[in-house]
């Protein structure tokens, strides 16, 4: 298919890998973070790390929208789902994220009317089909997904739908990146920037990374050649002593982003003063809530939620994995107590989660075979 097949060409991939090899200095260690969970998934699906020199290490960032959801938010969702007359809707991966007393899937098994949807529009359709029931959509995701929720809320308002509301857990990408860069136990040389978040926000929000922290950023697509070329572009910047924001994914990402998406988000959402991230703690201005103009469609206003902070399980090291301090297999419970079938931590739930990507693609080995 156009826009897909040409970015999976093995010959070209090998040529870019050779270019990468020529750019690295022997004896120097390179640590590059792929911010987005979609990149993590592609890297292991296509074995991209096996094409890299031994001294180029990929660190998995906080960009999985499921992995950052803390247990307390899941508990809040389950509390709404158990309210009489409620149909609770969410994306598939959210169903398995553990709360303090089970997941939404467990709550469904216990009798809650919890339904998986592919889009907020699906949830709106369920609301129209069930006018005597309250339909709640559990909105998660970064700026990629937030416009979809915002447009659906505008549609609900325009159609005068009274039985639809949103539990908003959308987050923004820049504050956690800044928090990571301020972390004293993290040493990174550059970033593979998130492709589809950038489709919405553009390249400009990432300029603080070279400006304030002296690290290169290359916004990348999700096919194997996209990621390899982004790595090559970062290494070329490092070899030349430069640090800039570059855009490898120009076929999709405009420098200014999608202005219509930014407008609709600004109308429907406002920043929360703080939002809790699993493993990273509270980060200022990193979460979105519905604006005052849309407060009547806010499920947290319409229903009572516990809003209790729940500490992560002691055995779980998702926080260190999300910060790139340890590799997934270095976690004490990886592949034993914590598996995709019975996850303890959220990084093992979503296919974009670093632990699940390692587990599903057989990356148990402590040593990496290199070219």
């Amino acid at each position: 298919m156009r826009f897909v097949d040409e970015f999976r060409d093995a010959e070209l991939g090998r040529a870019v890998a050779m270019e990468i090899l020529s750019l690295v200095e022997p004896g120097r260690q390179y640590k590059l973070m792929e911010v987005c969970g979609g990149h993590t998934h592609s890297i292991y699906k296509y074995g991209i790390d096996d094409l890299l020199p031994a001294n180029v290490e990929l660190v998995h960032g906080p960009g999985c929208p499921v992995c950052e959801i803390p247990m307390g938010r899941v508990d809040d969702g389950i509390a709404i789902a158990h309210t009489d007359g409620v149909i609770f809707t969410c994306f598939g991966d959210m169903m398995r994220v553990p709360g303090s007393d089970g997941s939404l899937l467990d709550a469904k098994a216990a009798g809650g009317d919890i339904r998986m949807v592919y889009s907020p529009l699906d949830a709106l359709r369920i609301a129209k089909q069930n006018p005597d029931r309250e339909v709640v959509f559990f909105a998660i995701g970064f700026e990629t997904t937030a416009p979809s929720t915002a447009l659906t809320l505008k549609r609900a308002r325009a159609e005068g739908l009274k039985n639809f509301s949103v539990m908003c857990s959308h987050v923004t990408i820049v504050p956690p990146l800044r928090a990571l860069l301020e972390s004293p136990d993290l040493r990174l040389d550059g970033f593979i920037g998130p492709g589809h978040v950038s489709t919405v926000v553009g390249a400009r929000p990432f300029q603080f990374i070279p400006a304030d922290y002296g690290k290169p950023v290359v916004i990348a697509g999700f096919e194997p050649l996209d990621i390899l070329q982004a790595i090559e572009m970062i290494l070329r910047q490092l070899a030349g002593g430069r640090c800039d924001v570059e855009n490898q994914y120009k076929r999709v990402v405009p420098f200014e982003g999608n202005l219509r998406a930014l407008e609709v988000m600004a109308e429907v959402f406002e920043l929360r003063p703080h939002f809790e991230w699993r493993g990273l703690g509270f980060i200022s201005h990193s979460g979105l809530k519905l604006s005052d103009a849309y407060a009547d469609l806010d499920a947290e206003v319409r229903f009572s939620v516990p809003g209790v902070r729940v500490a992560d399980p002691k055995a779980c090291q998702c926080g260190e994995v999300l910060k790139g301090v340890i590799k997934p297999w270095e976690c004490k419970v990886f592949g034993t107590g914590c598996t995709p079938e019975r996850p303890i931590g959220t990084c093992m739930v979503s296919s974009e989660g670093a632990c699940a990507a390692y587990y599903n693609f057989g990356r148990f080995a402590r040593e990496r075979e290199v070219v």
Partner: protein, 75 residues
Amino acid sequence: MSADDACGSQHCITCGDDGVPMTVVRVDLERGLALCAAQDGARSSVETALVAPVDIGDTLLVHAGTALARLEPTA
């Protein structure tokens, strides 16, 4: 149907920062929607407000039921 079955291929298209190229098959101007087909032939309604106007045959990058960008052929 479990969440895994629904997502398929160990990859959930809606949850991650994922975008799927889809081709416009029919346009509903009044409702701001387009019927789009994915590579595997699966069809779904897509919100087009962020990329409108769209025409039949356009390729859109779709995430969570919303078109985020129009894909242009690379030179």
